[in-house]
Amino acid sequence: MEMVVVAPPAPGRLEDLRRRFFATPLQAVLSLACLAIMVFLVWKLLNWAVFSAVFTTSGGPEACQAAAGACWSVIAARWRIIFFGLYPYEEQWRSALACVAVVVMTVLSCIPAFWTGRRIALVWGAGTSLFYVLMKGGVLGLAHVGEEAWGGLALTLFIFVTTCLIGFPLAICLALLRRSELPWISRTTGLIIDGVRSLPLISILFTFAVVLPFALPQWLQGDKLYRVILGSALFFSAYQAEIVRGGMQGVATGQEEAAMALGMRYWQRVSRILLPQAMRNAMPATINQFVISFKETSLVVIVGFFEILASGNAAYGTGEWRFAYVEVYAFIAFIYFIFVFSLSRYGAFLERRMSVSER
């Protein structure tokens, strides 16, 4: 007797819906509850943010306060403070251009064609110097603007970029030192890394901003901004060093032995054999670390910098917009969300891409 196996008929649309959401009574209850929550939240949010919101500044704060929904006019009235802080009004286009430069630089470094040590260094070096020249001025006919006047989104981006720029090479150095075969070097480095990792970032920023001036000779103190960036870079590098080290551990020992057998010197081995493979292994975790450190730049508000969060506080904190705090925070959260979400999506994409190529 011959068995004929026939595929069951494809379920109709209604049947499919029933199977997916109403398979059992419990599933049905769960689906309906989730649907109710979603509809409620989306309706509330839309109603607040769009339907009964005020978008124009024509009515002033009074018309806004009377409205039931969100008061987006505070953003329309104060967006310059949020984005540029105390940067001089006529020069704010420079601050905007500098932000664009950083964004372009970040996007470029996400393209695989730029993933060689030299190209990535070139992109980041050029991007950061362009940012610095645009912000600081004093050359090319641009008026000089001191760091104390920097603020808003530009300051956030500056702290983030310089933290990565200093922290990344430092992380590689720390990882190599911790891997060293000389016991005292690896132990001391391990102590430094673990010590920094066990402290909260706020306390490190505080130490670098407030305490370090006591412990440094006058000529070494520098500006508070650069000290804080140094502290945040140190923190970043302690975490990143462990990620890089993990990546190095994933490189087969045969690779280094083969390089040694070929007579390559230490730096050749590290730069040509070990690091390229280690960085590839460490890529997803590295992106994750970038995401975390971008979010953590916001902590500098504690040691008194006028970055985007502080400028947001200032945007609603003075005078007639005092009631519009939710809108300002929502707007800043949205800005952070755009940056962080796209970075982390990119990280997830990379992870998928790599797991495919390994198969």
């Binding site: 997916r20 959401f21 599933q27 769960l30 689906s31 989730c34 649907l35 929550i37 979603m38 030192l177 000389l182 016991p183 005292w184 070097i185 001391t188 430094i192 010590g195 066990s198 402290l199 909260p200 970032l201 706020i202 306390s203 505080f206 130490t207 407030v210 305490v211 006591f214 412990a215 440094l216 000779p217 979010k295 953590e296 916001s298 902590l299 508000v301 504690i302 969060l309 506080n313 705090y325 939710v326 925070y329 800043i332 959260a333 952070y336 969300f337 962080v340 979400f341 982390s344």
Partner: protein
């Protein structure tokens, strides 16, 4: 001399001495310069200041505190505040994270979508922004006179008021301990090595232990109750102010909410990862043995997922403890804020920073030690954890 440098061993030793020496020299130089700079300002170094009275107040303390108390007492208060806020945040974040994480692993598309939206939103906004946001919300709540009220809970700009048992603080602490024992004792007894009885009897003993501990808690509360008062004290308006109940200050509530929501989004991902790590073969095997979905969940998926989660969860908890330093943003006197205030008021910069480092090192190390114990205790012996 040159031939000595050619010797690999000598070179290695020299290199190490140079490296360690230069780092030690930098640290020492920093300390020496700092001591001199501080001495110029009339601040003598040393830990004598620990026994001087502070002269400033803390706004939140579980221990009695006045401005006459010495610095060491304030540091203790700070550490206890940090641990208390950390534990509350940790428990709340775990609850939020478990619910959201389970939603994300659910077979229901709508629940998954909800969970994913939650994680995407709250993970991608910096914690300190969320802290500022909740603080603004809470401090803009109505005054006590027109408070939001629900089931005896009151929401006001001066904090959240909740009903509270009418007992002294010592009795309350004892009752809390008893409740904790009711949770821990059955789990401890559940270890096969402790009780040799078959599983049914073991259950009975576990339930009995939990019931006994809960009964203890009830008795302590009954005895410790203030005379002639109802068991639960509800907050109520008296004149312009609220009387009764327990007041949770806005600062504490803000931080607990923010840590629970932000930490919860991270823990949700850990929970999801843990459940993803459970091999489908094991779940299918359990289903084909005829176990109901609930038993598959409690007997197979949950225990295996817990084992996969725990090491990552431990890291997350250490991070959560460090996140309590956000307290300084809203003025909650956690350990770090006490240190910062000490530096401001007494000028004993180096000593205070040293205490800060030692304190966080101790907190981190003890948390890590606890989790290592738990991890070792629940780890599968042998090679059973295969997909």
């Amino acid at each position: 001399m040159v031939s000595l440098l050619r010797n690999q061993k000598v070179r290695n030793a020299l290199l190490q001495v140079l490296y360690v020496g230069s780092i030690a020299a930098m640290v020492l130089a920093g300390i020496v310069i700092a001591r001199r700079n501080l001495a110029d300002q009339g601040i003598t170094s040393g830990f004598d200041f620990l026994f001087k009275s502070t002269g400033w107040d803390v706004n939140f303390s579980l221990l009695p505190a006045t401005a006459n108390d010495p610095y060491w007492w304030y540091f203790l208060i700070g550490i206890i505040n940090t641990l208390f806020l950390g534990s509350v945040g940790l428990i709340l974040a775990t609850i939020v994270g478990t619910i959201v994480g389970l939603a994300r692993t659910s077979s229901n598309d709508l629940a998954r979508l909800l969970g994913r939206t939650y994680v995407d939103i709250f993970r991608n906004i910096p914690l300190i922004l969320q802290v500022f946001f909740w603080y603004a919300i809470i401090t803009h709540l109505p005054t006590p006179r027109s408070a939001h009220e629900a089931w005896g809970f009151l929401l006001t700009s001066r904090g959240l008021y909740i009903p509270f048992p009418n007992v002294g603080s010592a009795a309350f602490a004892a009752a809390t301990l008893a409740v904790i024992a009711a949770i821990v004792l059955p789990a401890w007894l559940g270890r096969t090595s402790r009780l040799a009885q078959p599983i049914g009897q073991r259950r009975t003993i576990q339930f009995a232990a939990a019931a006994a501990a809960l009964a203890c808690a009830a008795i302590i509360l009954a005895i410790g109750r203030m005379p002639d008062t109802p068991l639960l004290d509800f907050p109520a308006l008296q004149g312009l102010n609220l009387r009764g109940g327990l007041r949770i200050p806005p600062e504490f509530a803000t931080l607990a909410i923010a840590i629970a929501i932000y930490g919860g989004s991270y823990i949700a991902e850990i929970v999801r990862g843990g459940f993803k790590a459970v091999g489908t073969g094991q779940v299918e095997a359990a289903l084909s043995l005829g176990l109901s979905p609930w038993r598959v969940f409690t007997l197979v998926r949950l225990p295996l997922a817990l084992r996969a989660m725990l090491p990552i969860l431990a890291n997350q908890y250490v991070w959560l403890m460090k996140a309590t330093t956000m307290g300084i943003a809203v003025g909650f006197t956690d350990f770090f804020m006490i240190v910062a205030l000490t530096i401001n008021h007494s000028g004993q910069t180096l000593e205070a920073i040293g205490i800060l480092m030692a304190g966080f090192l101790a907190i981190n190390l003890s948390l890590a030690a606890v989790f290592n114990r738990i991890n070792k205790a629940i780890a599968l012996k042998g090679n059973q954890l295969r997909g």
